[in-house]
């Protein structure tokens, strides 16, 4: 009797299942990371990778300076870590943005937030060297995410102001405004490309489709703090976003300081997207695929959705990068191609299953 009572009371409570899924995602992430550092065109064998990793874990660095060591610790590992950071950032930003707009179709890439962030970064690359030459390398690398953050922040603010009236968000307006803002940012970006020199052009071309190539520990050191800050913020945002699903007044009645929540979410989204875009370019659809799949598996509660999105987003982007590096080796596919191929069908399937999410 006691058992049936408990079962009845817990019916519809998906937190237990969510915990299991989160643990599995953690395992999946570790596996993907190990795969990612073991695979590459250089012919560094898996067993070599393992022994190098084992040595490092044991505090032995005999192989420092050897080609294998450089490949593993200065190329593959930073690339993998950057992928994990960017994937987690984009997926969490997507989940937060969708909570803010109360709609599963809000993706930082689709609604122009990424374009805004990219514009910020492009301005630094092109104008930065023209105006303040010579900027020290590290300073310039630091200016990138700051500019990307402001680009993303301004875009999200403008988007929210346009799409939300009296606490109701019009999804049609949101998507269309996102297209317009994206196009505007894209136009300015194109103009910057037009007036850039060859060196800048090489750097810029990478924004269009995104890439994890060129990852360094310095970039990670700069990208990690904002991403980790957003992840640390997410438990405090989670209950507010859950309440916001009911509507702004209902959230307020439930004790949420809605204005503060919105500011915090916009800030966090800009921070996460800015960090990801600054060093990986514009990678679309991660923010849509990951939360959508997770909602099917563990439900839409943000206190499990946000950490789940971080784990799955990291694993997904590392996985996509593995595909990019191997499918046309020794050449590399831009990672945005892979995420778009995965993500566009997900987007369309949401549309087909729930046409009501677009109340134009």
């Amino acid at each position: 009797m006691a058992l049936t009572m408990t079962t009845a009371a817990s019916a519809g409570d998906r937190r237990g299942r969510a915990r299991v899924v989160l643990a599995l995602l953690g395992v999946a992430l570790v596996v993907t990371v190990l795969l990612s550092v073991s695979i590459g065109p250089s012919g560094l064998s898996t067993s070599e990778v393992w022994s190098l990793l084992g040595d490092a874990a044991a505090g032995r660095f005999d192989a420092i300076g050897s080609t294998s060591h450089v490949i593993l610790f200065d190329i593959r590992l930073p690339r993998t870590v950057l992928g994990a950071l960017a994937g987690a950032a984009l997926a969490v930003a997507g989940a937060m943005l969708q909570g803010l707009f109360r709609n599963p179709l809000a993706d930082p890439g689709l609604v122009g937030v990424s374009s805004g962030a990219a514009l910020g970064a492009v301005l630094v690359i092109v104008l930065g060297s023209a105006l303040i030459t010579p900027i020290v390398g590290a300073l310039r690398i630091g200016a990138l995410p700051v500019a990307a953050f402001f680009g993303g922040f301004v875009t999200t603010l403008v988007l929210y102001a346009i799409a939300t009236r009296q606490g109701r968000t019009s999804v049609g307006t949101m998507l269309l405004a996102g297209i317009a803002i994206g196009a505007l940012a894209g136009a300015v970006t194109s103009y910057m490309v037009f007036r850039s020199d060859d060196l800048q052009l090489r750097e810029l071309s990478f924004w269009s489709m995104g890439s994890l190539g060129g990852a360094t520990w310095l970039k990670i050191a700069i990208a990690a703090p904002p991403v980790l800050l957003v992840l640390a913020l997410s438990p405090f945002i989670a209950r507010g976003l859950d309440a916001l699903v009911l509507g702004e007044s209902e959230a307020r009645h439930l004790g949420i300081d809605v204005e503060r929540l919105k500011t915090l979410v916009i800030f966090a989204v800009a921070l996460a997207v800015g960090a990801a875009v600054a060093f990986c370019g514009v990678i679309g659809f991660v923010g849509i695929i990951v939360p959508h799949v997770l909602r099917l598996a563990i439900g839409p509660e943000h206190r499990t959705l946000l950490p789940g999105s971080a784990l799955l987003g990291a694993a997904l982007l590392i996985g996509a990068d593995i595909v990019c590096r191997t499918i046309v080796a020794p050449a590399e596919l831009p990672i945005g191609i892979v995420t778009a191929v995965l993500g566009a069908p997900v987007f369309l399937s949401i549309l087909l299953r729930r046409r009501s999410v677009i109340d134009l």
Partner: protein, 261 residues
């Protein structure tokens, strides 16, 4: 006690409420009635702190409501919205749990959610998806959520308050009675309840105190015997009806006669 003192609310140049003073006393069920567009919902939104009046003040136990933080206010009063849709597939259990406050132990939270669902006659609905329920069932899920938010009518000697904006709008007769019984129980136990109702019979049956709103002002208030008069119906609702007389030639149903089965 929650008091609205001389509140005036404007939207643009239109005056939605002008110089309205009402008191929400604990221990009684206050029912707001009035024609469409009279300002009933505006009054409720102002009294719950959602709208800031252009003039006048709303005070909870003497403290101006706008000065009370959202979190602290939520511990004292819960508001049942008229209708609220969800854009993500929450289960009924998860929606109700949003209202649970002050409980940390997961087992206790689950029991609370189940108990609240039982009170609104939705026992066993926990695993259903909210979006797939009928309008009336969704309304009752929200009521269960709101009940969770102010589970104790009186806490630490302070009364809590329930605000229900047309709680019976999409309910069948049995559930209208069930919900209002629940509201009355809350008031009898020492909490304060305010409900906007359209059905004057239900208002007369359940309201300890009726407030009639017409054209943004209080047209009458008091116990139903005093307030529900032929003259009031004519002047406020614009209908010539007789209070207390049954139609002679056709059957009619009064909730007074129904037993909630």
């Amino acid at each position: 006690m929650i008091e609205a003192q001389h509140i005036t609310v404007r939207a643009g140049t239109r005056q939605l409420l002008s110089d309205v003073s009402v008191a929400v006393r604990p221990g009684r069920l206050t029912v707001i009635i009035g024609p469409n567009g009279a300002g009933k919902s505006t009054l409720m939104k102002t009294v719950t702190g959602e709208i800031r009046p252009a003039a006048g003040q709303v005070r909870l136990d003497g403290e101006v409501i706008q000065r009370i933080g959202a979190g602290r206010l939520a511990e004292r009063r819960a508001v049942l919205p008229q209708a609220s849709s969800l854009s993500f597939p929450f289960t009924v259990h998860e929606v109700v749990r949003l209202g649970v406050s002050r409980l940390r132990d997961p087992a206790a939270v689950r029991e609370r959610v189940a108990a609240a669902l039982g009170r609104v006659d939705l026992g066993g609905f926990g695993a259903r998806f909210f979006q797939e329920l009928s309008g009336g069932e969704q309304q009752r899920v929200h009521l269960a959520r709101v009940l969770c938010q102010v589970w104790q009518p009186v806490e630490d000697g302070l009364p809590n308050y329930l605000f229900l904006d047309e709680p019976t709008a999409s309910l069948d007769l049995r559930h209208q009675i069930l919900i209002l019984d629940e509201a009355r129980r809350f008031a009898r136990a020492g909490g304060g309840v305010v409900a906007i109702l359209h059905d004057l019979n239900l208002a007369a049956l359940y309201g300890d105190h009726l407030v009639v709103i017409a054209k943004g002002s209080v047209a009458a208030e008091g116990p139903s015997q005093q307030v529900l008069t032929d003259a009031m119906l004519r002047s406020v609702f614009g209908v010539s009806l007789r209070v207390g007389s049954a139609p002679a030639d056709r059957p009619f149903v009064l909730p007074h006669a129904i037993e909630a089965a």
